[in-house]
């Protein structure tokens, strides 16, 4: 099964081609360019350089959120367009789960963190035990202070990964001694890991049509949402 995976959900952008567990090619960029202008040329280059054709793709994978509002819409639109035109199935993967998949095969805890702005992060918590991934917390938008509470009592090292990882590490590492930062090569979302997550999901039957594919924006807790204007917060 050939999977074309696309991620434009956060600061970085990328695409990958996976065939039966083997990564055939991957493209990753992390520059301040608009994903809408880079993602389709990236997919074209990937297909050209792997001598693959779009019509050989059996399944499309995309990160459905949480993440950047514009970014999620770009990735979903691109995948919906291609999958609809070719009549192929899709798999939508949580951006946080795709980040956790970068640690596949390890024995550790992973806390993916995406910067949700205003001292908030999108986060979850996963445990890898070899090939088994266990979700310990759902995808949530929480204040960074709450992330500290969640992680400080962990008895094992917790790896931070995602576009908010460095920020959270710098803010919390003195108070959360077992906090670890993913190395630069693994810190941002990689479409190869997304493709692996999608392959497993597809094996479990979690495929949808292009029409059914939908973004999963995370809403903030009520109290956080309403505190935008300063006079209301006093």
């Amino acid at each position: 099964m050939r999977i074309l995976a696309i991620d434009t959900s956060s600061q970085s952008a990328g695409c990958a081609l996976l065939e039966d567990g083997r990564l055939l090619g991957e493209f990753f960029t992390n520059v301040k360019l608009t994903h809408s202008q880079t993602i389709l040329p990236m997919v074209q280059s990937l297909l050209d350089q792997t001598r693959a054709s779009l019509s050989d793709v059996d399944l499309f994978a995309v990160t459905t959120g949480p993440g950047s509002f514009t970014g999620l819409r770009i990735g979903l639109s691109a995948v919906k367009g291609m999958a609809h035109a070719l009549g192929k199935p899709c798999v939508g993967v949580s951006t946080l789960e795709a980040l956790a998949w970068q640690f596949c095969g390890q024995e550790l805890l992973v806390a993916p963190v995406l910067d949700a702005r205003c001292a908030q992060v999108y986060t979850a918590l996963f445990r890898w035990e070899g090939e088994t991934l266990t979700r310990l917390e759902p995808d949530q938008a929480i204040p960074i202070a709450q992330l500290e509470q969640r992680l400080k009592n962990e008895k094992n090292a917790v790896f931070l990964v995602g576009d908010g990882a460095e920020m959270c590490y710098n803010m919390l590492n003195e108070r959360v001694p077992l906090l670890r930062l993913a190395p630069p090569t693994m810190r941002y979302t990689h479409a190869g890991a997304l493709a692996l997550a999608a392959e497993r999901a597809a094996g479990l039957g979690y495929t949808v049509s292009a029409e059914q594919l939908a973004p999963a924006y995370l809403r903030l807790p009520q109290a956080e949402r309403e505190l935008l204007a300063k006079q209301q917060s006093v």
């Binding site: 301040k32 702005r117 205003c118 903030l220 309403e226 505190l227 935008l228 204007a229 917060s233």
Partner: protein
């Protein structure tokens, strides 16, 4: 802090044009002050000062207008109807902050706690029918 007394729409526009020349990509200009203060003519002057040749219009209905035909892109927001975090998120505001353009935000009162720390604050006050006091607060002003 910079203070400027404008006696006409033309003076406001010219002041905005000069002000624009000090702006750099990534700057956020947060406007405070109600209706009829000259924010729209200020936006016209700002766009011209940034070297943009697009036609500037009010973003009230679109929430955001993009002007990209020039040196530094200008993203012009109207936050009048934006009152909670989800609404702000779905304007793409946080994504525009990552772009190397200038953000001009009308009705910043609405989203004050979400403004980035380095935002330049531009306040309009009405002195009489045609006279306005413009106050700019921010690093370098």
């Amino acid at each position: 802090m910079t203070r400027f007394i404008s006696h006409s729409a033309e003076e406001t526009e010219q002041f905005a044009e000069q002000f624009a020349k000090k702006l750099r990509p990534g700057d956020v200009v947060a406007c405070f002050g109600g209706m009829g203060m000259g924010k729209t003519v200020f936006a016209h002057g700002l766009a011209r000062g940034l070297g943009l040749s697009d036609e500037v219009s009010s973003p009230t209905f679109a929430l955001v207008q993009e002007y990209t035909d020039g040196n530094i892109p200008l993203y012009h927001f109207d936050m009048y109807r934006v009152s909670d975090f989800d609404a702000l998120y779905s304007t793409g505001f946080f994504d525009y902050l990552e772009q190397d353009g200038v953000l001009l935000i009308e009705w910043s009162e609405q989203i004050e706690s979400a403004l980035p720390p380095g935002a330049i604050r531009l306040s309009f006050a009405r002195l009489d029918e045609n006279t306005r006091e413009l106050t700019i607060e921010g690093e370098g002003f």
